[in-house]
Symmetry: C2
Subunit: 426 residues, 2 copies
C-alpha cells in the first residue's frame, strides 16, 4: 500500500460538478490500495473575488486581515470536497493549514513554510480516512496568526506535506498534461516531457515555465520527493520530476535528453543605470539599495567602461511588478552614487534553453545563438548556468525565438499532442 499526496488547483474544483469529478478520482486512488492526502486550492475565481471585496472595503487592507479573508477560499473548497467524497461512501476529513500543522514564518501574504507537524493528518490516515488539506495557508510559529504562502503555493504545500509524511509520490493535478518542451500555445509541436530531473525543472520554473511553482520544485529536490505533474481531466501519464526514475534505480538505462525544453518569460522589465562612475563600490551601492527594497533581480550586465569618461552603464532585469519601487529606490541614491540617469524598459522578454546534457555536449550555445540569428532575433543580454542559456530579447520577438530554438534542437514532435484546457489555478 502506498501513500499518495494529490494536489488539485482551483480550475479542477471550480464548481460542484468539478468537485464531484475530483472526488471520484480520489476515491479511485484509494481503491488502488493507497492512502490519500489531498491538498486543494480555492474554487475557480474565489481568491480573486475575495481580493475584489477587500478592495471595495479598503484600498490598502492590512496583510493579516487579507490572509484571514483569503483563507476562507480553501476552507470552502476543502469542506465541499470532503462532502463529495463522503457522498461516494468514503470517509474524508478536511483540515485547515493550521490544523494540518503547516507552520510558517510571520510574513503575511508570502509566508514561507518552516516546518510541517502533520499529527492530525496521520491520525486521519490511521483512522482510514482521506485527509483533505487547505493549500496556500499555514499558521505562524511565533504569533499563531493565520498566514498565506503567496500565489502558486498550494503546490508547495503539497510537496512539503508529502515530504513530512514520507509519501511515495506527490501528484500535482493541473489543467495541462504535464510539462512540455515549450509552451504549446506558442509551439504547437511541443512534446510532453516524460521525465525531467529536479535540477532541470528548477531552471525551467525559474525561467518562466509556469506548470510548477519554483518553491515547490525546490522542496521536491531538497526532500527527494518524486513529483508527478498530470492533468485532472485525463488519466494519461504526465511528467515525472524525479532524479532517479523508479524503474531505473541505477540511473544508467534512462535515456537522458540533451535538452529538456525551451522556457520563456514576459513578466520582467529591464532597468539601466546610465553613467555610473567606474569606481569600486558603486555597483555594490546600487544592488544593496535594490536588495533592501526586497526586490529580486535576475540578470545583470555591466558595460565595459569607456576609458575616456570612466563612466559605465549597469543594466539588470527584475519582475515588472517591482518596477515602480525599484525606480524610486534608485532615484533616492542618485546623488550618493553619482550616476547620470535611469532607463526603464518593460517591453523585453527572456528565452531560455534548459538541459542537463549541456554539461557534456559542447556546441549547444553555438547552435542556440545561430538559431536566433537565423530567425532575425536580436540579443540584448545573455546569462548562463551549467545547464541553462538565457537571453533577453524584445518582447515581440519571444514567440519567433522560442519556435526557432525548439526546432533547432530537434524538439518538435511529429504530431501535435498538447492539450491546453484553460487557465491554471494557484
Amino acid at each position: 500500500m502506498g501513500l499518495v499526496v494529490q494536489k488539485y488547483g482551483g480550475s479542477s474544483v471550480a464548481d460542484a460538478e468539478s468537485i464531484k469529478r475530483v472526488a471520484r478520482r480520489i476515491v479511485d486512488t484509494t481503491k488502488g490500495g493507497n492512502q490519500v492526502v489531498v491538498v486543494v486550492s480555492a474554487m475557480g475565481d474565489t481568491t480573486d473575488d475575495l481580493r475584489d471585496l477587500a478592495q471595495q472595503v479598503s484600498p490598502l487592507p492590512p496583510a493579516r486581515e487579507l490572509d484571514m479573508l483569503l483563507t476562507a477560499g480553501e476552507r470552502i473548497s476543502m469542506a465541499l470536497l470532503a462532502m463529495a467524497i463522503h457522498d461516494l461512501g468514503h470517509t474524508a476529513r478536511s483540515y485547515t493549514g493550521s490544523q494540518a500543522g503547516v507552520i510558517t514564518d510571520s510574513v503575511h501574504g508570502k509566508a514561507r513554510i518552516i516546518d510541517i507537524t502533520p499529527g492530525r493528518i496521520r491520525q486521519a490516515l490511521d483512522d482510514g480516512a482521506i485527509a483533505i488539506v487547505a493549500g496556500f495557508q499555514g499558521v505562524s510559529q511565533d504569533t499563531k496568526e493565520i498566514t498565506t504562502l503567496g500565489r502558486g503555493a498550494s503546490d508547495t504545500t503539497a510537496v512539503a506535506l508529502a515530504a513530512a509524511l514520507g509519501a511515495d509520490v506527490c501528484e500535482i493535478y493541473t489543467d495541462v498534461d504535464g510539462v512540455f518542451t515549450a509552451d504549446p500555445r506558442i509551439v504547437p509541436s511541443a512534446r510532453r516531457i516524460a521525465r525531467i530531473t529536479s535540477e532541470e525543472m528548477l531552471e525551467m520554473a525559474a525561467c518562466g515555465t509556469k506548470v510548477l511553482h519554483l518553491r515547490c520544485v525546490e522542496y521536491a529536490r531538497r526532500y527527494q520527493m518524486p513529483v508527478h505533474v498530470r492533468s485532472s481531466f485525463s488519466t494519461r501519464e504526465g511528467t515525472w520530476v524525479i532524479d532517479t526514475p523508479p524503474d531505473d534505480k541505477d540511473g544508467q538505462t534512462m535515456e537522458q535528453a540533451i535538452i529538456s525544453g525551451v522556457s520563456h518569460d514576459r513578466s520582467e522589465a529591464k532597468i539601466t543605470v546610465v553613467g555610473v562612475p567606474d569606481l569600486p563600490g558603486k555597483a555594490a551601492a546600487i544592488f544593496q539599495a535594490v536588495a533592501r527594497a526586497e526586490i529580486n533581480i535576475d540578470m545583470i550586465v555591466q558595460n565595459v567602461s569607456a576609458a575616456a569618461t570612466a563612466l559605465t552603464d549597469v543594466s539588470f532585469t527584475l519582475p515588472k511588478t517591482d518596477g515602480v519601487i525599484a525606480m524610486s529606490t534608485l532615484e533616492g541614491i542618485k546623488d550618493a552614487v553619482g550616476f547620470q540617469s535611469l532607463q526603464y524598459d518593460d517591453q523585453i522578454g527572456k528565452v531560455s534553453l534548459v538541459g542537463a546534457g549541456m554539461r557534456t555536449h559542447p556546441g549547444v550555445s553555438a547552435t542556440f545563438f545561430e538559431a536566433l540569428a537565423d530567425a532575425g532575433v536580436n540579443i540584448e543580454m545573455i546569462s548562463t548556468s551549467e545547464i541553462r542559456i538565457s537571453v533577453v530579447t524584445r518582447a515581440a520577438d519571444v514567440d519567433a525565438a522560442v519556435r526557432a530554438v525548439h526546432t533547432a534542437f530537434g524538439l518538435d514532435a511529429e504530431e501535435t499532442e498538447a492539450v491546453v484546457y484553460g487557465g491554471t489555478g494557484r
Copy 2:
C-alpha cells in the same frame, strides 16, 4: 472608560457599503472612550449560499464538514470589517471562534458553549485594538474540531463573550428598533418596549418573538449581563433587557408594566395520540420515545378519560421541522403502547401574553380569554406559567388574536413608531 460588546447581524454587513457603515459606528463607539469587542455574523445570504453549495455536492453532508464550510462565512465578514476599521485609521484584529476561545461541546451544527477563554481578545484590547470575533462558531473541547452553534447563535456568542470579559453592556444590533409589544407587521400600533426583565424576555423569545435568540437571553440572565437591542440603521435607543436598570439601582422607581407584550408563533405543529389506554405509564412511554428522538415538545394536553372506554387522547405541540421524525417514532411504539391512531395538524398557531405583572394582578387571564372570545377565536390548548399565558388556535386566527389581545391590554400606541427594515440576520 467602558467595555462594550457589539453584535451585528448578517443584514447589517450585507455588502461593502454596509460594512463601512458598521465600521464607522464601531469607531464612533471607541471615540466615546470605550473599548469595543464586535461579534459579527456572515454577510447577508452567505450562509444560505454555502448551504446550497453543500446540497449540490452531497444531499446529506457530514455535520463536521458542514460546520467547516459554514464557518467560512464569518471569516469573510470579520476580516472585511477589520479592514474597513483599519481604513478609518483605527486598529482592528479579527478572530475566529476558536481563536477567541469559544469552547463548545462536540455537537456539530448546534453546539453549546461550555466556556469562553478570551485571552487573545483581552490582549487585543490591551494593545489598544478593536477585536472582531466571528459569531456562530467555536471549537470543541475534546476533539478540537470546528463547531457551529446553530442559527441565531451569534447573539449568544456576543452575550457569552460579554460575560466572560466582564463587559458593561452587550449591544445587539439588528434591523428593527428593538423589542415590540407585538410584531409590528401584524399590529402596526405596537410600541417599542424600553425596558424588559430577562425573565419576561425569555418567555417572549420562547413564545416566538424573534428579535433575540432564546439561548442568548438565558446567558444574559445567568450572568446578569445588560443587553441593549437596537437598530444598526439608527442611533435611537432600543430595548434594554435588564433586571435592574442602570439609573435605578434600588429597583424602586422603574415603572413596571403589567404586561410586556404579545408573542406569536406559527412554527409549531400538533400531534394527537388517539385512544391511549388510561393506565399508568402509557403517557410516559409516549414522551420517553419522543425525547429519545431528541424532539423538544412544547405544550401537552391530556383529555379527561371517557370512563366507559378507559381510553384517553394525548395532544402535544412540537416544531414543525420535527414532525416527520416524531410521527414515525410514534408509529414504531403503536403496538407497545396500544393506542389507536395518530393525528398530525400543522395549521395551528400559538399566541402568548407575557408580563411579570401577572403575578400580582389578578384578572389578567379573564381579560385575555374575553378578548379572544370577542374576536371569535377558538382556543384549542392552554398553557400558563407565572408570567405567561399561551393558547393554541387555528393558524389563520393568529393575527386577529394578537390584535385583540394587544388592544385589550392597552398596549396600542397613539402613533405608529415601528420601522421594519428587512429580514433579520442569524
